[in-house]
């Protein structure tokens, strides 16, 4: 009996040149200028960052650009403890939802510049920027503690004003 065929190689490669679209393009331009700029929905007035082409609640274009603060509040987090291919940081590190002051939805990013054991809900953090900005959100290396007193976060993940 002949040996069983256990594998067949059929490599596939598809290449794309994807355009960011109007909204993401203006966001990447703001990153190059060292600013975090979201967009406000003209109907429900929520400020989205990163900005979205359309408000998912109201289905209208978010046309107004709104600068938001470099500082924000951690509303939830997870400590990444395992290594994987393509990882930018060495574990353990914290990824977190951070509601920036002036924004209504959290930004997913990294909390660094402190021990992972210090990361907590309500913690105040601020963006740490690379010296030479690139058109990517990774131009903000991570968010580090800014020393301000913690804010209260309710069980819906909203920062209590």
């Amino acid at each position: 009996m002949s040996a069983p065929v256990t594998q067949m190689k059929a490599p596939t490669r598809l290449e794309y040149l994807v355009h960011a679209g109007a909204t993401t393009t203006t966001f990447l331009h703001s990153i190059l200028k060292g600013q975090l700029v979201g967009r406000r929905c003209p109907v429900c007035h929520k400020v989205y960052i990163p900005p979205r082409g359309a408000c998912p609640t109201c289905a209208v274009l978010c046309t107004d650009e709104v600068p938001v603060s470099n500082s924000g509040t951690v509303t939830t987090f997870s400590i990444v403890r395992i290594p994987f291919e393509g990882q930018r940081l060495t574990p353990p590190y914290a990824c977190a939802h951070i509601v920036l002051d002036g924004a209504d939805v959290p930004l997913l990013h990294i909390v660094g510049g402190c021990s992972v054991d210090e990361v907590r809900v309500g913690m105040r953090v601020e963006a740490v920027w690379l010296e030479i900005p690139q058109p990517t959100l990774a131009t903000v290396t991570w968010f580090k503690p800014n020393g301000e007193p913690d804010r209260a976060v309710n069980d819906r993940g909203e920062v209590v004003p």
Partner: protein
Amino acid sequence: MRSISIAGIAQLPSKLAEHHMDAAELVQAVTALALADAGIERKQIGFVCSGSSDYIMGQPFSFVMALDGVGAWPPIRESHVEMDGAWALYEAWVRLQHGDIDTALVYSFGKSSVGNVDDALGMQLDPYYVAPLGVSPMALAALQARALLDARFANERDFAQAVMRARLAGARNPNIPTPTATTVDALLAAPWVASPLRAHDAAVRTDGAAAIVLRAGGPGPKITGFAHRIEPHALGVRDLTTSPSARRAADDAGASRIDVAEIHTPYASQETILRNALGLNDRMLVNPSGGTLVAETPMVAGLLRVVEATRAIRDGAHRALAHATSGPCLQHNLVCVLEST
């Protein structure tokens, strides 16, 4: 069958490259136009269904990102097909047959400019026997065209004439890139790309979006029949000179007494096959929009045929047929028959 009408239609102009708008922006724009055309508000919509392909858009879950454009929070009843939007329209029509909801919004979007559509379409071929050969969709269509010539069902001049008709009609279509004027003899003088097909025998690929609002009852063209049929995956077991699936779909959709037909032909050679299978003749107006040979947006082209058929009825036709196809060599065919009310 519950009577379903086309309450609203919309398309964004088909462009060779749409670099400015992302998927959510395309969807927001085209669905807003369709809802305005129908005079229906978003919150009145009972079901949303879309057709698109991540392989075409080059982004994982592009259809989920695009949902921002229809307002999917708080949650809505929503579905998606990784297919042309014509099949999303079919799903919405079936959904409305359940009887508990009365309106549906259907849309599709696609960009041919971001990647190589032929390479992406190669992904749907048999993974063991065909895909590893790296055969292009054009080569498969050429195999079909050769079978047509060998059976004496068509000649190369027929292919060129189909391209000429498409370009002449397309010159009057404000929503597509202006086709280049030509003559049949000039077309026939062009070199073969995959004999017997020439570059111009393949559809001009574009970027774009289309949307339709369906409503149970009410004004607007009525869907009197809707069906789709598919043929075997293995090309070798099919008779490529004919399309039994298109014929069955047309029969099941009750495609008779048609005034205007909008048919989806990725290649000029396929028009002969579809005219035969769908029972089209010279008394009917075929592809008044120019059809897909002058503008084919992947995942949108089929839904756009229904949009164009609706336009034909609004312009005075009594019964119109819209056809969509998918897969190599017209593998899967859909027919939607509309009637004026």
